[in-house]
């Protein structure tokens, strides 16, 4: 029972490998950190694990099964830029309930106010939008969450608050979390293990 990537390798141009032979594993309830320099493939790795792109080598399995493209993927990715991850023509209400209807507890925990739901995305700040993205990913069927620079755009206090709530919920639901960040201090503070991507480059 784990989200596993075995011998993953990927390139965008033939034979110019971004990384190769990566083995990565997250168990339910575990928090794994991914660190590395800019451009070393952190985001690419995150997108592979979430099933957005297929690797040129290796395989990804979720609880020993392959990801099925047509169904709700149990691995959810939270993007760095919430303003791009939300359809600008949708009211926040629809964004929030695209997959499921979140309970009031979760909304309160993240401080999502009721009147925000009637607004357009451009009428909320990045941090406020990001809360919606996090709640959206916390579908009851989600087993693993990959947070790709999820809180980078927030100030330190909000960052701490949101991460705290987020990790609490993941802990209580036994959701495996991968936190992608370049802030080593943050990773060491919240993660059980830290995996360094691209030692070669």
């Amino acid at each position: 029972m784990a989200l596993m990537g075995e011998n993953l390798g990927v390139y965008y141009k033939k034979d110019q490998w971004i990384f190769k032979n990566i083995n990565i594993k997250v168990s339910p309830g575990e928090v794994l950190g991914l660190s590395g320099y800019s451009g070393c493939g952190k985001t690419t790795l995150a997108r592979i694990l979430a099933g957005y792109i297929l690797p040129q080598a290796g395989r990804v399995s979720v609880d020993t099964k392959h990801l099925i493209q047509k169904k709700f993927r149990p691995v959810q990715l939270i993007y760095q830029h919430p303003e791009k991850a939300i359809n600008p023509l949708w009211k926040m209400e629809n964004v929030l309930t695209e997959t499921y209807t979140p309970s009031q507890d979760i909304l309160d925990a993240f401080g999502i106010r009721d009147d925000w739901r009637k607004r357009w995305p451009i009428e909320l700040s990045g941090g406020e939008l990001q809360r919606f993205c996090i709640v959206r990913a916390l579908n009851p069927n989600t087993r693993y969450i990959i947070a790709d620079e999820m809180t980078t755009m927030l100030d330190a206090i909000t960052q701490a608050k949101i991460l705290h709530v987020f990790l609490d919920i993941c802990q209580s639901r036994k959701i495996g979390v991968i936190v992608v960040s370049h802030e080593k201090s943050l990773l060491h503070r919240i993660c059980d293990r830290v995996y360094k991507v691209g030692q070669l480059c």
Binding site: A50, R73, I122
Partner: protein, 289 residues
């Protein structure tokens, strides 16, 4: 939570100066719609008797009885102009609907079904854009054999290209958007994504595109009939009215050409105005102004 923070007033909807722009836009749109509606209604009310040849009232200047004067056969120009504009509008609507459908279909197909098909469709678009509109329309009209159907087909065949390009670009851009990939990761079907994510952002472009296409279509339709392709001379079409009036202009009958011409421009401009104002109104970044 709201009461605790005691900041209810930040949350209230947009008041003050806002709404003025919106009000002005709505006024402009309703003015244009009224003008077009007025012409359509008048064209139905006015009796066909006014179009009969009447020797008693030949070549009259504009007066209260004959608002736009009469022509050399004694026909009331006001009635002819209104009925001619109605025909132009009908042909325009029909041709626009066809071109918009073709444009939407080809644009979407080009954007979705991979590189090969995109190249083929883009080549066709360039082919159609490269040829001068009017010559191409005359050619098609001639092949089809004239008449109203000839005009509709030729106008529809030549006007879809620019809108198809817009639709293609829009779909291409939105196809790779992150929120669509996320929707896919939720296991949403292609149909759901097309309906809920792609359509809402492409639809305004299509609607505005068709409103902006309309004046072109009307003017081209008028020029085709002006050149004598298509309709029989007794049909009240703006193009025919104008081309007939040409030969009487030198005898000083300026009203034959002035009023129908002005009205044609007004109608075309009204549609252009509706399209332009809708564009401003539907743009989400200005929707609250």
């Amino acid at each position: 939570m709201l009461e605790q923070l005691g900041r209810k007033e930040d949350v209230l909807p947009y008041t003050g100066k806002a709404g003025n722009v919106r009000k002005k836009i709505i006024w402009m749109i309703s003015f244009s719609v009224c003008l077009i509606g007025f012409i359509v209604i008048l064209s139905f009310i006015l009796s066909n008797d006014n179009l009969r040849v009447n020797n008693a009232s030949k070549n009259l200047m504009p007066s209260f009885k004959y608002l736009f004067g009469t022509d050399w056969l004694g026909r009331d120009m006001f009635t002819r102009t209104m009925k001619g504009l109605r025909l132009s509008l009908a042909v325009g609507v029909f041709a626009t609907v066809i071109s918009v459908t073709v444009a939407t279909l080809l644009g979407t197909v080009a954007a979705i079904f991979g590189k090969k098909i995109d190249e083929i469709i883009s080549w066709f678009i360039e082919l159609f854009i490269g040829m001068p509109h009017l010559i191409f329309m005359i050619l098609i009209c001639y092949i089809v054999g004239g008449g109203i159907q000839g005009i509709v087909i030729s106008v529809a065949m030549t006007h879809w290209t620019s809108l198809a390009r817009v639709v293609r670009a829009e779909v291409l851009q939105i196809k790779s958007a992150e929120y669509i990939q996320i929707s896919q990761s939720y296991g949403k079907s292609v149909w759901y994504i097309a309906r809920k994510h792609v359509m809402p952002s492409v639809f305004p472009q299509i609607m505005i595109g068709s409103f902006l296409m309309f004046p072109h279509v009307i003017l081209h339709e008028a020029s085709l009939t002006f050149l004598g392709f298509g309709l029989s001379p007794q049909t009240p079409a703006v193009g025919i009215i104008l081309s007939e009036a040409m030969s009487h202009l030198s005898t000083g009958q300026w009203w034959l050409i002035l009023f129908p011409g002005i009205l044609l421009i007004l109608v075309a401009k009204s549609f252009d105005n509706i399209g332009e104002q809708l564009r401003i109104l539907l743009d989400p970044t200005s929707s609250n102004e």
